[in-house]
Amino acid sequence: MSLARSLAPVARAARTPMGAIAGLWLALIVAAAIFAPLIAPYAYDVQNLPESFQPPSSAHLLGTDEFGRDLLTRIIYGARTSLSVSVISIAISVFAGMVLGAAAGYIGGAFDRAVTIVVDLSWSFPEILVALILVAIIGPGVTGTMAAIGVAYLAQFTRLTRAQILAIRSETYIEAARSLGAGGRFILFRHLLPNALAPVLVAGMLATGDAIILEATLGFFGLGAQPPLPSWGSMMSSGSALLFKAPWIIILPGLAVAITVIAINLFGDALIRALDIKTRLREA
């Protein structure tokens, strides 16, 4: 299994018109997040009260907020917070979900039933509710948000992985491997997990879009990244009081959230088509 073959579907997805536009925006926003200190025109945390509430101009391309901080700068740094929190929390969630789901699907029996009951129970609550409860327990901030989002999406990836493992386990090539003398570990790591990977990773990518919204929601409630560190959600929160005085303060970060989430979904759809796994994602 070469890297080139793994990346081929991504390249195919990026060649479709929608995939190309979405991929371009995502590349841009990721680059902005990574290179924020290099490209941001101002410092994100230095207040400049005489320049507050300025509409977009040549000096401040996207205007300034109530403390006179440059909005473009804060949106770029906000991308850093939003993307890193959602990507890291989903990555943790995907990894833990795969371990749990694979173990449940492979071991079966009482362990499987116990995992299924807990997972289905948490699946029946909306992610936002699970995340809110967890942040309330852990406490606000970047770490608490990551943990909350990670746990909130755990059920989804556990269910999907388990369903994949159960489906693949009945394939003839698993029986063929057993007839050659393969043990459980060989079958799990060489056949079951590699074949279950693609749908779970795509579901993880789509969930990253939802996680950005969830992160923004928690930020809006003041439970996410704490000031002066900008996040798109907390920027919208401070802008909500100034909706009529300086609408750009809430609209611009909102647009950043919306466009990024739409781009992730469009790219995810293109990837699903390129991988031809639409039916497999519905199994969970």
Partner: protein, 316 residues
């Protein structure tokens, strides 16, 4: 038979379904007391219609599923009594070729990966040149080593499946309908390949099929199964059938010569449910020679002529 390579004694397997919350469990015997022996170098055919337990028998013989009763002996070792480690070691000497060449290969494995697997499962690497030798043996070009299954035709995939079975140079191969999902022209090629490999490598086969014509062409002896039990063992492929069911299977083969074509004698009546077998002979409901004795008493397998057992009260 003085020294069979593999033998089965009264193999049986029960499957249960249901047994849920409010539904009672139902169970059926997929294989009922099947015994046979295969000599070294021999090809034993197993025929019967779908659902008669052929594939279950194949998996029991290799202990891919556990028998409910009975035992299997391979070259003096009791397979059914082996621990996991010994069983895995024994698997180098027995292999299986599967019916469906599309699902029997991992879509993410190249041909070379698939042929490396028989070594990798034992923590080994294939000896130098072994992969190429295997490809050559099954008539695939060496360039195909890097291909993925979806790039191959059904016949090519089945050749890969055969090469994988041959990788550890086994003595015994179970062929579970290896040609059933292939085009007729490809079927002939695969059968020719299998006979050639048998001669060249001194292999012993258990050949499962629903095609009696093919089995009579390819096998030395033929075991006929009906609803999980053996009804007849034909000592030679060209022996004339003594059980009415074997006769019916043969009559349902189409004859190419129009002048020799008879009207088709399709079996009448329904196959009894395997969940609810009748008291007497399982074939009674469909048998043209049925009498009251057949409905009352299940006939035992007995030698009509030496080496030709038949389970019928009124053999042909």
């Amino acid at each position: 038979m003085t020294n069979p390579l593999i033998s089965a004694e009264a193999l049986a397997r029960r499957f249960s379904t249901g047994g849920g919350w409010l539904r009672p469990a139902r169970s059926m015997m997929a294989v009922r007391g099947v015994s046979f022996e295969v000599a070294k170098g021999e090809v034993l055919g197993v025929v019967g219609e779908s659902g008669c337990g052929k594939s279950t028998l194949a998996r029991l013989v290799l202990r891919l599923i556990e028998p409910t009763a009975g035992r299997v002996t391979f070259d003096g070792q009791e397979v059914t009594g082996l621990g996991p480690g010994d069983l895995r070691r024994l698997r180098r000497r027995m292999a299986m070729v599967f019916q469906d060449p599309y699902s029997s290969l991992d879509p993410r494995f190249t041909v070379a990966d698939a042929l490396t697997e028989p070594f990798a499962v034992h923590g080994e690497r294939p000896p130098a040149g072994r992969i190429n030798a295997l490809l050559d043996q099954v008539g695939l070009s060496l360039a195909m080593a890097a291909s993925y299954p979806h790039q191959l035709s059904g016949g090519q995939r089945q050749r890969v499946g055969i090469a994988r079975a041959l990788a550890q140079a086994p003595d015994f191969i179970v062929l579970d309908e290896p040609t059933a999902s292939l085009d007729v022209s490809i079927q002939a090629q695969i059968i020719a390949l299998l006979s050639e490999l048998r001669r060249g490598n001194g292999l012993t086969y258990l050949f499962i099929s629903h095609d009696l014509g093919l089995v009579r062409y390819f096998c030395d002896r033929v075991l006929v199964m009906y609803l999980g039990a053996v009804v007849e063992v034909m000592p030679r492929a060209d022996a004339s059938p003594r059980h009415p069911y074997t006769r019916a299977l043969m009559d349902s083969n189409f004859v190419p010569d129009p002048t020799r074509r008879k009207t088709l004698q399709a079996l009448k009546g329904e196959i009894p449910s395997a969940f609810d077998l009748p008291k007497g002979c399982a074939f009674a409901a469909r048998c043209p020679r049925v009498t009251d004795l057949c409905r009352a008493e299940n006939p035992a397998l007995r030698d009509l002529t030496p080496g030709h057992p038949v389970a019928c009260h009124h053999p042909l």
